[in-house]
């Protein structure tokens, strides 16, 4: 299931926020990712006695599953890059290769290791780190959940809602809806622009689409309580909606 976070109350005339505008559109994939990112964050797994991130933790395994490249230091000046998906390997040193790639690995690692949030795993002289593109597709994330469930004794079923803050649940309305893709999520929250010559485009509408029907939905709670910024409203565990039934394209309506 996906989720929408709706603006409650109109701020002012367009392009300011209008009541019911979609502030955030979260796909099921994105919701899963935020939980995995949190559960597998390097901060959860500390440092070994020498200050490196320990290998064989969920933090390292998560990167191994999602990142394009694994880097391993081979010696004082050489780094091995492995494309995790294809297995292709390439070594780099201080001299440029044909693609103008080089690395001064000592300087590189020194800077990384000096950072409190560094992601350098392994041991001194045999450091491992990750880089390149990051695959957070549904397939990749779903395949990683069993490992998380096994090692942390948690259940994915308990991590299906976006972790909105109390403040957000007081100021906005979160709705659980049928899932949509990332492309659609982008369209839901995109503004509407008018092109201008020799200038940046002008925003006509803050959000292209909005939910006009939220006040008539069977929310199970009063409209007053939703509109009250002192009251936390969270109906996601008990109510879900069909996205296409509550979202209308404002720009289409205006035409």
């Amino acid at each position: 299931m996906a989720e929408l976070l709706l603006k409650i109350g109109t701020v002012g005339p367009a392009p300011a926020y209008q009541d019911g505008d979609i502030v955030v559109a979260l796909t099921d994939r994105r919701i899963g990712q935020v939980h995995l990112d949190h559960l597998c964050h390097v901060f959860n797994y500390g440092l070994n006695k020498d200050g490196w991130r320990p290998l064989d933790t969920l933090a390292q395994k998560y990167r191994e599953s999602t990142h394009q490249f694994r880097f391993e230091r081979l010696d004082e000046k050489t780094v091995l890059r492995t494309n995790i998906l294809t297995g292709a390997k390439e070594e780099f040193g201080e001299k440029n290769n044909k693609k103008k790639e080089h690395i001064y690995v000592t300087e590189y690692l020194a800077r990384q290791l000096g950072h409190p949030g560094h992601c350098i795993f392994g041991d001194k002289g045999r450091e491992v780190w990750y880089g390149g593109t990051i695959d957070t597709s549904v397939k990749t994330l779903d395949s990683f959940w069993p490992l998380v469930e096994d090692e942390l004794h948690v259940k994915k079923a308990d991590h299906i809602l976006w972790p909105f803050s109390d403040h957000e649940l007081k100021h906005f309305l979160a709705l659980k809806v049928d899932d949509f893709g990332d492309d659609m999520a982008g369209k839901y929250v995109a503004p509407v622009y008018e092109a201008r010559q020799d200038n940046l485009p002008l925003i006509l509408l803050k959000k292209r689409q909005h939910s006009t029907a939220w006040k008539s939905l069977d929310l199970g709670v009063s409209i007053t309580s939703v509109e009250s910024k002192a009251t936390k409203t969270d109906i996601r565990a008990s109510k879900s909606f069909i996205c296409s039934a509550i979202v209308i394209d404002k720009s289409a309506v205006s035409k």
Binding site: Y17, H102, A110, S165, G186, L200
Partner: protein, 484 residues
């Protein structure tokens, strides 16, 4: 008038998304006219679609800033701080005077995005300490801007298009607006269009309101037959463009450096592990012009290092190489024993990760004594854990012996505060092991990465090696660093 700071993070914050923070900027229950609104991100991924920051106009905010909390900021390389990672864009619209975007990493993750730019900045926007990279798409601008605006101390790299023009910075200029582009680094733009489409590192219009200084722009490439230039215009009549570096001949100005290889500028250009900090000996080091503190924050480099307060000669690019190894955070009460721990982190070397000569250099910065109560025996014991190698011929026992000599100077009751010259002379007498040259770049970088503040309290001339820098912890001497 108040500064209202709200946290944006997946757990335990005021908001979980940037968009939700922005959507509340006109909430009169939170903000009032004249307030400064700050949204602080954290070390996590912000996987959001397009974010438009134009709220606050109804309330009448004085300014709005999207930043990253201290301790969660990147270190000038990708993947180390708060990362905006999606196929959307960030739009900074001018509903109020100042909109600031800083310390965020904007990662395209090599995916096609819906709009033609990663960041669109309108009149009054300021961007600093941004890392923008990894956009592989069609006709594209890293940053598309109009109006009065500042971009400084930021890094843009790895942008590629297969169709249409490509520009890391595309500036709509006029005689009415001041555009300041300072101390930023742009690297590796590729245009593989089948047509004659351009690729420009920075494209502006030749008005005297355009100022471009202290930039490094390298490697505009690709298979397109169109024009490829690091800087456009490359021969300005009015625009103020100087003290820039280019890998082609397009950096204009008497103080600019042209036809410089990217391989002699950066720590790493390896795909997926890029580090565009300046390598030791880079052409861009000390080749910039001192911009003082205007616009506000221009003096703070991509690592948070203050060029102005440290009174250094400015480098070109987003990174300022910290040439003197003087890094102690006296506020945190760092002590010598902790420094030794840090030194253990120094990578290098073939077998044990650190050459013995480098070890000595590192150890020599440790002035162990009464300041933190670390005993000589403990010191030597700690030092012994740092393995030396045989590659440079100096034995570990000799190292320890030499160190012991120096340590004795301050553990036998001598008070450095009373007689700094005496200690300097004593150290000079053991010059056979304390001639260091400059500290290695690795150690320098490491220490700078660990400690935030630097204070040079005293500089005593060393009769043999050059200069001794004495670092103080409160009123007490703490570290001595010798540098030739």
């Amino acid at each position: 008038m108040a500064t209202i700071t709200k946290s944006i993070k997946a757990s335990g914050g005021d908001y979980t998304t940037i968009a939700a923070w922005e959507a509340d900027l006109d909430d009169t229950g939170i903000y009032a006219s004249g307030d400064v609104a700050i949204g602080e991100c954290y070390n996590q991924v912000y996987n959001e679609a397009t974010v438009t920051i134009n709220g606050g106009g109804t309330v009448g905010l004085a300014s709005r800033k999207l930043s990253v909390a201290v301790g969660n900021r990147h270190n000038g390389t990708a993947g180390t701080g708060a990362r905006f990672n999606n196929n959307g864009s960030i739009f900074l619209e001018s509903t109020i005077a100042n909109t600031i975007l800083e310390w965020l990493e904007v990662d395209g993750n090599e995916t096609h995005i819906y709009t033609a730019e990663a960041i669109r900045m309108d009149n009054g926007a300021i961007i600093s300490k941004i890392i923008l990279h990894g956009f592989y798409t069609y006709g594209f601008r890293g940053i598309y801007a109009w109006g009065n605006l500042d971009v400084f101390d930021s890094i843009i790299y790895n942008l590629k298009v297969s169709y249409g023009a490509l520009r890391a910075l595309d500036l709509i200029c006029s005689q009415y607006y001041n555009v300041n582009i300072y101390n930023s680094t742009i690297h590796n733009l590729k245009n593989d269009s089948a047509y004659s489409d351009w690729v420009f590192g920075i494209r502006g219009v030749d008005y005297n309101t355009l100022r471009v200084k202290n930039l490094i722009v390298t490697d505009m490439g690709g298979t397109s037959l169109g024009t490829k230039l690091c800087y456009f215009p490359s021969s300005p009549v009015q625009a103020v463009m100087d003290y820039n570096l280019s890998s082609d001949a397009s950096a204009y100005g008497a103080h600019s450096l042209i036809n410089k290889s990217s391989s002699n500028q950066y720590v790493s250009t390896v795909l997926g592990s890029e580090d565009l900090h300046l390598k030791a000996g880079a052409d861009a080091i000390n080749a910039g012009v001192d911009l003082g503190t205007t616009p506000v924050g221009v003096n703070i480099d991509i690592d948070g290092y203050d060029r102005d307060s440290n009174n250094v000669t400015w480098d070109m690019g987003a990174d300022e190489v910290q040439t003197q190894t003087v890094t102690v955070d006296s506020v945190e009460g760092i002590v010598a024993s902790e420094v030794i721990d840090v030194l253990r982190f120094v990578p290098g070397g073939a077998s044990d990760g650190l050459k013995l000569s480098e070890t000595i250099s590192a150890l020599s910065i440790i002035r162990v004594g009464t300041s933190d109560g670390l005993k000589l025996a403990e010191t030597i014991s700690a030092l012994a854990t740092i393995q030396g190698g045989a590659s440079d011929g100096l034995k570990l026992s000799e190292t320890i012996s030499a160190i012991a000599l120096a340590v004795d100077i301050v553990t036998d009751g001598s008070n450095f505060s009373d007689s700094p010259e005496g200690v300097a002379t004593a150290l000079g007498s053991s010059v056979d092991v304390f001639v260091l040259g400059d500290l290695s770049a690795a150690i320098r970088t490491l220490l700078m990465g660990v400690y935030d503040r630097v204070e040079i309290v005293d500089q005593s001339p060393d009769p043999i090696t050059g200069t001794i820098f004495v670092l103080m912890q409160g009123e007490r001497p703490f570290l001595i660093i010798t540098a030739s």
